[in-house]
């Protein structure tokens, strides 16, 4: 069957995913609604992280810092200042963006492994500040009682709210990746040096991208607190920074929706496997080994290489199994 509608032809996959996401709460239990809310929040986190990894070609191992800053901003404003949830969301994005601006100034001077280590070091710095600052952040007790407003109290309503926010945020991020700025990121990823010689201030562009990523990590964090009714310093830890890495690698960092698919796999398995065994990290470890060894480029990499999307792309992708 030939698809006529040009919009649907181009965006059939996200359209289908969105439709599925819309009807999902009608057919699943409350436990799984919680799981899918988590999938969406972590999926946004991973998509924001992938601006740095998949598009800019640098591995950040400290994005949880900005996620955590977002979560704590919302938590603190709601618990200590009684702000309404909706009003805290833009503030969380701003504080996370500011955090990314300050720490990013140093990180984007470096490349490769040094970039990864410095982002991780700064991530841990944020973690320890939150962990130690009892009077303000509650230290390792975290913050409790971050209750969403009554109209968002139910699992289903919070799920739909999250779905709307994550969808809007994803559309904005997607537009950015398709803009001249987005292509400049791909250019920096492919050949940083060359990009300087066509007259682009690479440092400045990388910093802007780092901040954009931080802002959306902060948004994901802001959604987390009221969902979980609490926040804890673990949200900023380097283990938590590893989750979007895992998701992007598994789903495919070279496709916009790859990290979201990775989040589906990761979170779903997490919820599913922990029902049987406490050795979930072992299972996730095995999965990551299989992905890295046998399907570089993740789920989307395999699909693209086999040419399920289009013949021409398959030829183009034979070189390295990736798109963008």
């Amino acid at each position: 069957m030939e698809i006529k509608n040009p919009f649907f032809k181009k965006y059939w996959l996200p359209s289908i995913l969105f439709a599925v996401a819309l009807i999902l709460p009608l057919v699943i239990t409350q436990f799984w609604i919680h799981v899918f809310t988590e999938i969406l929040i972590l999926g946004l986190f991973a998509i924001a992280f992938n601006l740095i990894f998949g598009y800019m070609g640098q591995l950040s191992f400290g994005q949880a810092a900005y996620y955590g800053i977002g979560a704590y901003t919302t938590g603190l404003l709601m618990v200590k200042a009684n702000w309404p949830f909706l009003a805290t969301i833009p503030i969380s994005m701003i504080t996370a963006g500011l955090g990314a601006l300050i720490l990013g100034c140093f990180c984007v001077r470096l490349r490769g492994i040094y970039f990864a280590i410095l982002t991780m070091a700064f991530g841990q710095l944020v973690y320890f500040i939150i962990f130690q600052w009892y009077s303000f952040t509650g230290g390792d007790n975290g913050l409790q009682g971050i209750n969403p407003p009554p109209w968002l109290f139910g699992a289903t309503s919070y799920y739909y709210f999250t779905l709307i926010i994550v969808t809007i945020a994803s559309i904005i991020i997607y537009a950015i990746t398709e803009s001249p700025f987005g292509y400049t990121m791909r250019a920096i990823r492919d050949n940083t040096e060359r990009t300087e010689f066509i007259g682009i201030n690479v440092y400045r562009y990388m910093l802007i991208n780092f901040v954009i990523s931080g802002i959306f990590c902060g948004l994901a964090g802001a959604l987390w607190g009221p969902f979980n009714r609490s926040v804890a310093p673990d949200l900023c830890s380097w283990q938590h920074s590893g989750h979007p890495v895992f998701m992007a690698v598994m789903g495919g960092p070279h496709h916009f929706l790859g990290p979201m698919i990775g989040s589906v796999i990761f979170t779903f398995l997490n919820a599913f496997v922990t029902g049987f065994t406490e050795y979930w990290p072992l299972v996730s470890g095995v999965i990551i080994i299989i992905v890295v060894m046998f399907m570089p480029g993740g789920v989307f990499g395999v699909i693209k290489q086999k040419g399920y999307f289009s013949k021409k792309q398959a030829v183009n992708n034979t070189t390295n199994g990736v798109g963008h």
């Binding site: 066509i198 682009i200 021409k312």
Partner: protein, 250 residues
């Protein structure tokens, strides 16, 4: 300073640790010329380009572009002021298509890379297609640059440099890896650009026929020192230049 001089270096030197690779090069290039720098491998030709374009920091001496000192400027600033280069080993964006490669450079030139919300595919179409056309890459526009042939990559390299609309174009062995036919086509294109839009071109090359066929001015570098300079005919007669190309008839 003479307004006609687009590029000038004063005692330009470069050393890597204790190795002196370029020594006191005084060079002048007139606007609108096609000039070549020749010399055996390791003579310092690429280093000379690297110093002008900010790829390496200068150890000694100064670089002037249109009378303005640009010594040790940042790379993107040098590109913005009007000097672009094409690299010896093609240096393109392997995972972008030929079209996207060129569009990227066009967008940078148009200062539109800080546009966040307009889809890039709607922008700079005309300019990009035009560059694809004149470099003969139009049939390959949707091919990823990483799987282009060596010769096509060099053409793309040239297109990227041209997209920046430079005043001075530095070409580092522009025809390396090309067939003789492609070499001819490329150099004819360079010559046409020179004649039609007055683009000043400085290139390095090993191919003697290219050097003598296209350059109006030749400079010979040998072990980092500028040993001879002049019209192709003058250099051909020059004893020192001959000595550098020992055994090779020039």
């Amino acid at each position: 300073m003479n307004n006609n001089i687009i590029l000038k270096t004063e005692n330009l030197s470069k050393s890597f640790f204790k190795y002196q690779v370029l020594t006191d090069v005084n060079y002048e290039l007139k606007r609108g010329m096609i000039a070549a720098i020749i010399g055996p491998n390791g003579a310092g030709k690429t280093t000379f380009f690297n110093l002008i374009t900010g790829y390496h920091t200068v150890s000694g001496g100064r670089v002037f572009f249109r009378g303005k000192e640009i010594t040790n400027w940042q790379r993107h600033k040098i590109a913005r002021i009007g000097i672009t280069r094409a690299f010896q080993v093609s240096n393109v964006y392997p995972r972008l298509t030929a079209y996207e490669n060129i569009r990227q450079s066009v967008l940078a030139q148009q200062k539109r890379t800080l546009n966040f919300l307009t889809p890039a595919e709607r922008l700079a179409k005309k300019e990009t297609l035009e560059l694809l056309e004149i470099t003969g890459l139009a049939p390959l526009k949707d091919t990823k640059a990483g799987i282009l042939s060596q010769g096509d990559k060099k053409k793309l390299e040239l297109a990227l440099a041209l997209a920046s609309k430079p005043d001075l174009l530095l070409l580092d062995e522009p025809t390396a890896g090309m067939s003789s036919e492609e070499t001819h086509e490329t150099m004819e294109l360079v010559k046409r650009l020179n004649k039609e839009i007055g683009l000043t071109i400085l290139f390095t090359e090993h191919d003697i026929s290219v050097i003598f066929g296209y350059a109006e001015k030749l400079s010979v570098l040998h072990q980092g020192v500028l040993v001879a300079e002049g019209t192709p005919e003058e250099v051909r007669q020059n004893k020192e230049a001959q000595a550098c190309y020992l055994g090779e008839e020039i």
